[in-house]
Amino acid sequence: MEERSFIPGIEGPMKVEVSIDPSSRRLVDLEIKPMESSRFFEVILLNREAKAVPYIASRICGICGYAHALCSAMAIEDAWRLEVPDSVRSLRELIAILSTVNSHLFHLVTLLFTWLGRSRPISLNFKRNLIELMKVKTHTIDKALNELCGDKLHPRNIVPGGFTYLPSMNRVMSTLEGVNRLNKLVYGLVEELLSFDLLREEDFKTHYVALKNETRYGLLEGCISIDSMIEIKVSNFKKYFIEQSISGSPAKLCLLYGKESYMVGALARLNVNSCQECEYRRWLHKLPSTNPYLIPIAQGVEVMKFLDIIQDLRRELRDEPRLVKPHHYPRRARGMSAIEAPRGLLYYEVEVISHKLTALDIITPTVQNLANMKDSLKYIVQRLLEGMKRAQIDEIRREAERLVQCYDPCIPCAVHVHET
């Protein structure tokens, strides 16, 4: 039986195999191995009516299902040249933010259970705070997503053109009233995480890629920024970012210019957008930050930021019609969309003939982060080897595991969607 000693605390089964030469204390080889089976979504989604595509695409992933539903709907709208009203856009923004807060908080809580549970018993008081946080999240963020889209994991009503149904916005607003209570609990959670001295100080230089929006810290609209220096249109994504297959692996890698690794996700978003005004950026010491161990802290900063934005968006909620249909369907057209999923940039490219999906290409955040994760692991392992008199396998294993956990990879996403 194949050994199933997968990295704990992450979504989906994955292994990292490290080969070291003990005599010279050099890293010989390092491989990242996602171990999940492919589910071939890019085939099973083809030749389907467009309205069913977001419903099925959200099943790619249990935690970023909302991102897949939104991105697929927006790519089809792009193909149809369909403009949705501002009411749809702002509600989608709220939904993307709520699902990102949900994802980040789940990651932070699982990280604490994984790290602290293994290194020392979790104090009762701290455990109570975690439970309180999960409880408040359930009664605010989860409840709002349930109200807005029928289910907090897989949305039911997201279709190209808007929403098939929405409840009264008063009900949604009332579920979000308690969101303020999360601030204090999340603050405590991040401070707790920082106090344990589990996060190494590292300086790993790489490229950071995220959506950049001039008006606000957006998740759904903007151009793609590389290191805050190059800005490209979504339609040019594939000119810069090239996917590559890995022999014998169900996952692929995506590289900048086809050769350089880059980071997407919370830390990349904060680095690209600077966020000078954000008071919680002090948790990261400096921005831009080059320490991949601080990704969970960046997620904490984002949650604090998003809790404020939720309050602003809450005031914009109105009961307005939120579904538009094209006047006519194109005979054959292509469309693209790039949004910020919780773990980073998510790209969809579709071809539609009339109202049916006929071709599909999805590039997920984890596919984009895998090469960066591998490069940063190599960097850390080599640094550990150089800093130690003897190669202590347990420490190397612990630090490698911890770094992967910081990246918050999503293996179900990474192995289930590829170009077709």
């Binding site: 039986m1 199933r4 997968f6 990295i7 704990p8 605390g9 992450i10 979504e11 989906g12 089964p13 089976s37 492919s38 589910r39 071939f40 979504f41 890019e42 085939v43 099973i44 030749n47 389907r48 009516e49 069913a52 419903y55 099925i56 099943r59 992933c61 249990g62 935690i63 299902g65 789940f106 809580v109 699982t110 994984t114 790290w115 549970g117 293994r118 975690l130 439970i131 999960m134 409880k135 359930t138 989860d142 889209c149 029928g150 289910d151 994991l153 897989h154 039911r156 009503n157 929403f163 098939t164 149904y165 297959s245 014998g248 692996s249 169900p250 179900p412 590829h418 170009e419 077709t420």
Partner: protein
């Protein structure tokens, strides 16, 4: 009143989106009634990846790779009660759609090469490999039903799924009939318990909780025909969750 007892729970994921696992974990980390009576002894996502002895093992996803069969048998050998959680583990769900192609075709189309990593031709539900004690269906299963199951265990009560249909739950809420509007809706034969959440949000029932009214299937097909729904459209929507059911056989 809940008796002051504790049960040990293990959570395992085979191939799937892991949404069912996240739903379960969310319940056991936030439900005040349950939290003091449950001990989580295994869960990769929560940092405990080892297979351990447990009173109840919840398994989501389906067997898609050869190594997952042995993993499942090990889980069975260490669990007093085994629960298949979610559509993929019970009837293959979206994973079953691979059966419309060969693995070689799929790998060629997606990766442009053969992977040789033990992909199976079919999605095996758990009960085709090991004994399953309970099922909790849905994509994902409703929160209340998982909570109900855990409460039944703690109280020593028998857990039963509802035999009502989605159609019953839909009409009793006064929702407009999507089938009558010419939509492909399988609600009249699908197990309820979900409070007809999809029709409530404007999407027809595509059957994630499985068929409960087998004798109503022919009448449903007749009804769809009466509302001018083409057989091709019906087949397209069977090819979401219901590929491994008799409904597909009837539509051949």
């Amino acid at each position: 009143m809940i008796r002051p007892m504790r049960i040990t729970i293990a959570q395992y994921s085979l191939s799937g989106c892991e949404g069912c696992a996240l739903r379960l974990l969310n319940i056991i980390t936030s439900n005040e009634k349950l939290i003091d009576h449950i001990e989580l002894v295994s869960s990769r996502v929560m940092g405990i990846p080892e297979v351990r002895q447990a009173d109840v093992a919840f398994v989501d996803g389906s067997v898609l790779r050869d190594n997952e069969e042995e993993f499942l048998m090990e889980i069975r050998s260490k669990s007093r009660i085994l629960v298949a959680l979610g559509t993929c583990s019970i009837m293959g769900g979206l994973n079953a759609l691979r059966e419309l192609y060969t693995v070689a075709e799929l790998e060629e189309q997606v990766y442009g090469m053969k992977l040789n990593i033990g992909h199976l031709d079919s999605a095996k539900p758990l009960d085709s490999i090991v004994k399953v004690d309970y099922i909790i269906p849905g994509c994902p299963p409703p929160t209340w039903e998982i909570e109900e199951f855990l409460l039944c265990l703690l109280l020593g009560k028998e857990f039963r799924l509802t035999d009502r249909t989605v159609c019953f739950e839909c009409t009793s809420q006064g929702l407009p009939c999507l089938l009558e509007r010419g939509e492909v809706c399988f609600g009249p034969v699908i197990r309820g318990g979900c409070n007809a959440i999809c029709p409530k949000y404007g999407i027809p029932c595509w059957g994630c909780r499985g068929i409960v009214e087998e004798y109503g299937m022919e009448r449903l097909i007749e009804n769809l025909r009466k509302h001018n729904v083409s057989p091709e459209r019906v087949k397209e929507y069977i090819r979401i969750f219901l590929l491994k059911t008799k409904l597909r056989t009837l539509m051949r």
